[in-house]
Subunit: 255 residues, 2 copies
């Protein structure tokens, strides 16, 4: 029988050493990333923008199904329309670049097939990994016609879960959305930190008209707008004040 891909370690001889990193430089990135709402208007070099976008794709993602998308708005017409769709927010109006982060709820099918294609060319892939993309992924993320598999899975998980630990989600298309949004957000954070590391700033926006954005960018039907990122170099008065965070004991629990 094939080893369980989750609970038993397959035998790979791959080694990837961790580089030595100056954590102080990273700490500066995290601490100096602020939501900047007024940009100075200077462009972000294309090369920098491309590095930051590629870095977004290096974030971890669910089962490597990569359910994300990053749209850099290039044309003046689309930029003008995007500013309106972002309710004329100052950050959008003054941004050098506008990037729309989307989550994809149905690309997992193609991407699971793509993983199997890649596996078929690899020198060694455990059977369990192939079976994961062939059988488990469609079972977990598939909701069937009109979503009927969702409630069925919910019942199955409920009864099976009485005796053993079992996954509980996704059992609805809303859960699939949550799943894809989560991964897209991980990529978005890589993007924003990357901008900071290379000397630029960002403002993630949620105040927008997602319906209009889908139209402007002709987004695929299964796309969910996760956030719109305004980017550029911080301008005068662009950070509205010191960072406010409530006491961390509210959020960090040692249990």
């Amino acid at each position: 029988m094939a080893k369980d891909i989750l609970s038993e370690a397959p035998e790979f001889d791959y080694i990837e050493k961790a580089p030595v990193i100056d954590a102080k430089e990273f700490q500066k990135v995290v601490e100096s990333r602020r939501s900047v709402r007024i940009f100075d208007g200077k462009p972000i070099p294309e090369k920098v923008m491309n590095i930051c976008l590629e870095n977004a794709l290096l974030a971890p993602n669910s089962s490597n199904l990569q359910p994300w998308g990053f749209y850099q708005v290039m044309t003046p017409e689309k930029k003008a329309a995007m500013i309106k769709a972002c309710l004329d927010q100052v950050a959008a109006k003054t941004a050098s670049e506008i990037i729309v982060v989307i989550a994809r709820t149905s690309t997992w099918k193609d991407h699971a097939a793509e993983m199997l294609r890649i596996f078929s060319k690899a020198s060694y892939v455990p059977e369990a990994a192939k079976s994961y993309y062939k059988k488990i992924v469609p079972f977990v993320y598939g909701m069937g016609p009109f979503g009927i598999f969702g409630p069925m899975k919910r019942i199955l998980f409920f009864f099976r879960g009485l005796s053993v630990p079992i996954i509980r989600e996704p059992v609805s298309s809303s859960h699939v959305r949550q799943w894809a949004i989560k991964t897209a957000a991980l990529g978005a954070q890589n993007l924003m930190l990357s901008l900071r590391a290379y000397g630029y700033d960002s403002c993630p926006m949620e105040g927008y008209d997602s319906k209009r954005i889908k139209k402007i960018l002709e987004l695929p039907k299964d796309a969910v707008v996760v956030m719109v990122i305004a980017a550029g170099k911080r301008g005068k008065g662009g950070i509205y004040g010191e960072r406010i965070r409530f006491d961390s004991v509210r959020f960090i629990k040692k249990v």
Copy 2:
């Protein structure tokens, strides 16, 4: 009339200069962050763990409503239970630390009130910002008893949206969950990159029994388990192979 807090820049005299950063060090963090599934068992120093957790809270978040939580599992009993709840995944079994990232869907009320308390002590806060937390936040995130405001808002946004751009979400409790999950994921990515910067590794896991985790950690009722992060130092064979990403033209669009 108060200026619109979104579309007009308030006049602050706050200045926060960006530090000079060695982007190469950051690039190493992003590139060397891999999902590590076997850890070497050595502990993560408490000081490092605390810096990484605090860094999570420096991620951007929706309207500063901070709808996130990070539970570090400390006791051997809870750790053992968590491993089972994570379906005995190798990453959980070998992890030095297990951190559960949660999203909170109802803390926004308290947190909006907290923002107003902080504002009341500040030397200058524009009226529009106060009004934002007093009126707009409850309108946007409140779904009313049994969620009845959701469909009402959906209809309102639909008709209003015919003539002007308008926000479309959240108009359901599921949208509120998506909203909170998004912010929690931004924090999670800060946490994972921080671990890497300080010489440690992580594996974000989604294969878990969220119902059992809620019980084990006695999570608040409104909590959604976003991901479980196994952390430690990479062990032999802990990275299963070279990173696989599909061609970036699938994900990065210049439009």
